[in-house]
Symmetry: C2
Subunit: 243 residues, 2 copies
């Protein structure tokens, strides 16, 4: 049976403007690979309601699970919850259980639950909350879409809350072999190996280091023995040039 | 006049599987911001022809310029050129000028221009070549789509080849102010500033460091004086807590 599929939507002006380098996508990709869920597509859009609605609807209809990051805080540019509600055609408002979580949190910290913070209790109708052990304000799940914070520590905590509840597949095993030969020399033998091991996904990722050409060949699949066999075959074709 | 728009398509199993952390998107985002071109959307898809064709066609019809990275090398998993030809409905074959570039390069290196390497001279009909001063094999431009390599050093060289030929806009200036207060305290005053400076894009990017909450407030726009004024206003609201 093929593994479940997933997509991610990053809502992030700060990434599109080059200010920030993504960290959440990389984290989620690694966690999903471990869980046997295939991350098939990522989109990054601006803090723009039209763009978020269109992307969420495209991704949720195409892939089994969608994760979003960003835009659920208290400031004026946090518009993700409203966009998700609109994408699903449902209402949105401050919800008692979310408000109670925030109230308890801020009381403990001696912080005022002001109007801005209360925005974080606005949850689309029909959603369930995602726990946020780091900073309180919850994410939420609506249909097959998990809406999470953009702050990496919070995003990671929410991923940890959500993942155990998802049906995983066979974890993808990935092994790499570094071949210190130009990719053009590797290509022919590699294509033969790829055709002899159709169950494996074999990728070639070239590099240039100090003027020398090489490629990291990555074998991915669910059968460790098969991966080792394909790697051994490649190593035998390029003896002394793999490690 | 609004700035020209752009999108990027990353073709990369290695990013979706969590093996590699993106570098090219971050580089392009920074270069485009400097050139006054607004990067509005990024998509990352697998090394899958259907997925590439669909994404290229969606992005090129929506944004003024599209940049792709990855999948134009000599190995079996390099399918980008064919996918681009299909997306545009044009033919593809080994082209003399591209072959001549490769032949000259490999002759100088004493390397054989074998069948695998010749794949890199396959260029969709009607495309113009993008120079690759790093490793020879060219990228290409077809319509409003610039097809470039995934190896960061080569990607960066190709971006440098392409950018001067594009019509830029007013470079986006971006200034940040770090406020050492929880975002929930910043949100109210910040919303007022955002509404008083409608020409600026004002983002709030919260952080948690050693258990302390704060946010980097980023002001983006094309008028430096306006940005400084908005920053000064924020600093006056939170004296002693900004830097």
């Amino acid at each position: 049976m093929p593994n479940p599929t997933a997509a991610m939507l990053v809502i992030g002006d700060e990434i599109l403007s080059g200010r920030t380098r993504d960290a959440n996508m990389h984290h989620l990709a690694q966690e999903l690979a471990r869980a046997g869920i295939d991350l098939r597509e990522v989109r990054i859009v601006a803090d723009d309601e039209e763009a978020i609605v269109a992307a969420v609807n495209a991704l949720r209809s195409r892939w089994q699970t969608v994760f979003t990051s960003g835009g659920i805080g208290p400031t004026h540019d946090d518009i993700t919850a409203d966009a998700i509600a609109r994408a699903f055609g449902v209402g949105i408002g401050v919800r008692d259980d979310a408000r109670a979580i925030l109230a308890a949190r801020y009381e403990k910290m001696g912080t005022e639950l002001n109007e801005a913070r209360l925005r974080m209790a606005r949850i689309p109708d029909g959603a369930t909350l995602i726990e946020n052990p780091v900073s309180g304000a919850p994410g939420f799940t609506l249909g097959n879409v998990h809406v999470m914070a953009g702050v990496p520590a919070v995003f990671q905590a929410m991923v940890a809350s959500v993942l155990p509840g998802l049906t995983g597949g066979t974890p993808l095993i990935s092994r790499g072999l570094r071949v210190e030969r130009p990719e053009g020399d590797i290509a022919g033998p590699l294509a033969e190996i790829a055709s002899d091991y159709p169950a494996l996904s074999i990728g070639s990722y070239p590099f240039i280091q100090q003027g020398r050409y090489g490629a990291n060949i990555v074998f991915r699949g669910t059968d460790a023995a098969e991966i080792e066999a394909a790697m051994a075959r490649l190593a035998s074709v390029f003896p002394g040039e793999t490690r």
